[in-house]
């Protein structure tokens, strides 16, 4: 059968068009591979990049040829202007127009590489993702005006190839890329919570090797400057993995399921006596008296931050957790007052007499009565309910005034002075030795809305009695050098209880030789360097 010239031209043009579509499909798909970083563990980034570029260029070139060849047909329906300006073709305005527009859009997308540095990476990424749109238009062009596309399998194949590209493109979005792992984590058994998952972003990893310095059992910088790492590490190596994640220069290491120690309340504490920390964070329900004298200017940001930080019971931040703005003239005792004009500023330290450095805060053990921490726990439990208001007035001008609970009563004894009550016997004067009527306190104590646990009202003995203005009453001889460790039993007990873990668990020498490259069961590899 003899073909007409028109048929021959059409055959050539259609063939070129199909080859062009195949090249564009492969190139776009390869681009998603480039984006997701999947191939960087197998191939060099530069190789992946140049394959993407060349395949796309081939497809675009063939696409241009496809358009020009259409004009070669005798008695052709396609004019020169039809292959330049979209949607003006007389026979098939939509189909041809889509093809023309897609080609031009794709050329523009490709050329945007040239201005990548000028417009910045993020904007260029957004511009470059127009490639998915233009590829969609190419597929639509095929389905609308392709004359060989009547059989259903062919149409299905075209549609499927388009769907593959779009799905691959969507899967490179960061949040969606994390989704499978998140779902898997949710469904995986509980014991995996003891393990720490490690994921290195191949697009960010710069192969600096700092992670191997910290955790050689997990990370290995191979001699070809790619990083191999374990994706799941046991919990005993979690510390090393965390250090590696912190020191990573490119911040490419992400850890799942951090084994953080969350200390919420004391174990076994009676919650009616000691307010657990969690209570202070529960949302404040009900009406609150507007006692908070300090409108916190950062309340909004703080709330947001606390909401992000909070893992536990509530999302409401503490209100301004500080004391009142100025020093309350608490000196109702015999000592001179802090001048009322002196609010808001500290007395000059240099102007006041002091003993040596350990004088102000007696160390534990220097005197039995001097340390508020050494009170027998019998004090705990006697002071529940509303603030007993046993203020150390007269002891120490700098003691914090008792918190006026700015939230009414619902918070049980927040900041109750458990363990931090001043010794009743040693409070000089002012007569407040018995159970106090709760509020208001004696001095003009500003309400401050403080709900946090009160720190120990510490200085009892040798502290300057009056806000550092009067003469120093406590000329207590300081025994021994200030910094010398306390000898005796206490040091043993304390060391045993409070010694931190050994300084840095450096890898053992045998780990140094064995980088684990050959033994790691679940190795992932990624290459270094970004484009």
């Amino acid at each position: 059968m003899l073909r007409t010239a028109q048929d021959s031209v059409h055959l050539i043009a259609a063939t070129i068009g199909f080859v062009s579509y195949a090249a564009l499909w492969a190139g776009t798909l390869w681009g998603t591979v480039l984006r997701s970083g999947w191939a960087t563990s197998r191939l060099r980034h530069q190789t992946v990049h140049s394959v993407h570029m060349h395949v796309i260029l081939l497809g675009l070139t063939l696409g241009i040829v496809h358009g020009i060849v259409q004009m070669a047909a005798p008695y052709g329906k396609v004019r020169a202007i039809d292959v330049v300006v979209p949607f003006i073709d007389r026979a098939d305005p939509i189909g041809v127009g889509l093809g023309v527009a897609a080609l031009e859009l794709m050329i523009a997308t490709a050329l945007s590489v040239l201005v990548q540095r000028r417009i910045g990476y993020a904007r260029w990424r957004a511009l470059h993702s127009l490639g998915y749109l233009s590829f969609t238009m190419v597929a639509a062009h095929l389905l609308i005006s392709g004359s060989e596309l009547y059989p259903a399998p062919v149409r299905t194949a075209i549609a499927a190839s388009w769907a593959v590209v779009i799905l691959a493109g969507i899967s490179t979005v960061t949040h969606i890329a994390r989704l499978p792992r998140a779902i898997f984590d949710r469904l995986s058994p509980r014991h995996r919570a003891e393990e720490v998952t490690v994921a290195v972003d191949p697009g960010k990893c710069g192969s600096f090797g700092f992670c191997e310095q910290e955790a050689p059992a997990i990370f290995t910088l191979r001699s070809d400057q790619r990083l191999a790492y374990r994706s799941v590490v046991p919990s005993d190596q979690a510390e090393a993995a965390m250090r590696a994640a912190v020191v990573c220069p490119a911040r490419a290491i992400k850890l799942g399921r951090l084994p953080a120690t969350v200390v919420v309340s004391q174990p076994g504490a009676d919650t009616t006596t000691v307010a657990p920390l969690a209570t202070t964070l529960t949302p404040h329900t009900g009406t609150q008296p507007a006692v908070d004298t300090h409108a916190d200017p950062h309340a909004g940001s703080l709330a947001r931050m606390a909401a992000a930080v909070d893992q536990g019971t509530g999302s409401h931040p503490r209100p301004a957790m500080t004391d009142s703005g100025s020093f309350a003239p608490v000196g109702t005792g015999p000592q001179p007052r802090v001048p009322a004009s002196d609010t808001g500023s500290f007395p000059r330290v240099g102007a006041q007499p002091r003993v040596t450095d350990s004088g102000s805060f007696p160390r534990v053990g220097t005197g039995p009565a001097a340390d508020p921490r050494s009170y027998p726990p019998a004090a705990v439990g006697q002071h529940t309910g509303p603030q007993p208001g046993l203020r150390p007035v007269g002891v120490n001008g700098h003691a914090r005034p008792p918190a006026v609970n700015g939230h009414g009563s619902p918070l049980p004894a927040v900041g109750a002075h458990t363990g931090s009550l001043p010794p009743v016997g040693s409070v000089p004067t002012n007569g407040h030795t018995g159970p106090q009527p709760a509020l208001p306190p004696v001095g003009p104590v500003p309400a401050n809305g403080h709900t946090g646990p009160q720190p120990a009202l510490r200085p009892v003995g040798p502290v300057p009695a009056n806000g550092h203005t009067g003469p120093q009453p406590a000329l207590r001889p300081v025994a021994g050098p200030a910094r010398a460790p306390q000898p005796g039993l206490r040091s043993v007990g304390r060391r045993a209880a409070a010694d931190p873990p050994p300084e840095d668990a450096l890898p053992a020498p045998d780990q140094l030789q064995d980088t684990g490259r050959h033994h790691l069961p679940r190795l992932r590899g990624i290459a270094g360097g970004r484009s």
Partner: protein, 431 residues
């Protein structure tokens, strides 16, 4: 609990409040470490910047060239449960005896333990004028301002060829803007990487087309209608729309002025990062001047590096909880920089007395730095520091050797007497 504490519990219990001043790397890691070690009391972190803790190193790197957005630099707070972050708040004054801080909001905040991690502030050299178009680069706000200003600028002058200056220059050239870098020395980054590698990096930057004015100082800077004109001491002038001054920084310790702490250059600490002269106060980060055993000398010094800040924050937290029996913090300084394809890594100390062995990984190549080069600093037969460019594998091996090396024997650190009380001399007789 108080009873337990008196017979040997941790130094800080669930009723105590530890305040961390500074939300940079050191404060962030100190707060996390305190919680991780089981501190159950109240933990307040006060930061001057009104943002969440973030990765400050990104300010001269990814934030400028757009590879990172501010939200990408936010530090992970999952390991920091129940820390009250008070950002946008400054500490104005400290009362070390009442253990209280005075905030710029007028509030006072009592503390039982204090972590000084307030970091540094960028400063202009004396006599510099200020005005629009003149930028410093220290925090996130600076980086944002510079980034938005870079959008309309074609030519940027950078004063100071240290690490930050070089990174800014590389970020600017990566954005297809031209950069002029004025450096007073004849090679770049003299303090950070030492002379041999600094010279090689300078050659690599020159080969890649960076406009360097080496050995020049800025004699005068005057604002023009569209930018600035810098007059160099050699007589030539540099015109640019933007000027980035990366010339100096100063520890932010004004709020400790009324304490007996030595704040002449940062905060003087002992080997365990306890602030000398103050009880229950530790310091970490670029503000801490402490004698590192690993350094070999007793001279306290400050180190302003990211990894060091993180490790110091951890060590300071341990010290605070351990009380008097804290082990000394001996940490290995390490930092990195990625400048236009040059991956620079430094660890240890680059002392002037050390012998420097420079090894080229590919000796035939003319672009020595780009092809890979390692400089080992050897003192008395011991490796004390390593500088590597594009040689991460060799650097990692050397750095792990340094990390595994046993720390030298303890150095007796003399802590100066905290304060002078001439009028109370009789006190000493009592003792």
């Amino acid at each position: 609990m108080s009873f337990l504490r008196s017979v040997g519990g941790p130094a800080f219990g669930p009723h105590d409040r530890i305040v961390v001043v500074g939300t940079g790397a050191a404060g962030w890691s100190a707060a996390g470490e305190l919680r991780r070690l089981g501190f159950a009391g109240e933990l307040v972190a006060i930061g001057a910047e009104p943002v969440r803790p973030y990765d400050r190193t990104a300010c001269s790197k990814g934030l400028l060239n757009g590879h990172q957005k501010p939200k990408d630099t936010v530090l992970d707070l999952r390991g920091h449960p129940q820390v009250s972050w008070r950002t946008g708040t400054r500490v104005v004054d400290t009362d070390p005896y009442g253990r209280r801080l005075l905030l710029d909001t007028g509030e006072t905040l009592a503390y039982d333990g204090l972590v000084v991690a307030s970091g540094t502030k960028a400063t202009l050299p004396r006599g510099w004028p200020t005005g629009p178009g003149l930028h410093m680069l220290h925090d996130l706000a600076d980086a944002k301002a510079l980034r938005s200003a870079l959008g309309g600028a074609a030519r940027v002058a950078i004063v100071g060829g240290g690490l930050t200056g070089c990174e800014v220059a590389c970020a600017v050239t990566a954005m297809a803007r031209s950069a002029v870098l004025v450096n007073s020395q004849s090679f770049l980054m003299p303090r950070s990487v030492g002379e041999p590698i600094g010279a090689l990096i300078t050659a690599a930057h020159l080969a890649s087309g960076l406009d360097l004015r080496l050995g020049r100082k800025v004699a005068d800077a005057e604002p023009r209608r569209t930018g600035w004109r810098l007059l160099l001491d050699s007589g030539e002038t540099v015109s640019a729309e933007l000027v980035v001054v990366t010339a100096g920084e100063r520890p932010d310790v004004d709020w400790l002025a009324n304490t007996p702490a030595d704040i002449s250059d940062g905060v003087l600490c002992d080997a365990s990062l306890r602030v000398a002269g103050l009880d229950g106060v530790v310091a970490a980060g670029s503000v801490a001047r402490w004698p590192d055993r690993r350094h070999g000398t007793d001279a306290p010094r400050r180190v302003g590096q990211w990894i060091m800040a993180v490790e110091q924050g951890r060590a300071a937290a341990r010290t605070l909880l351990a009380g008097d029996y804290a082990p000394p913090a001996s940490l290995l300084p390490r930092f990195w920089s990625d400048q236009n394809g040059l991956r620079i890594e430094v660890c240890g100390r680059l002392s002037d007395q050390a012998d420097v062995h420079v090894t080229e990984l590919r000796p035939r190549r003319r672009d020595t730095a780009r092809a890979g080069v390692v400089a080992d600093y050897v003192e008395d037969g011991r490796l004390v520091g390593v500088v590597a460019v594009n040689a991460p594998r060799a650097f990692t091996v050397a750095c792990r050797a340094l990390l595994n090396e046993p720390v030298p024997a303890p150095v007796r650190v003399t802590i100066p007497e905290p304060a002078q009380f001439e009028e109370y001399q009789p006190l000493r007789l009592v003792r």
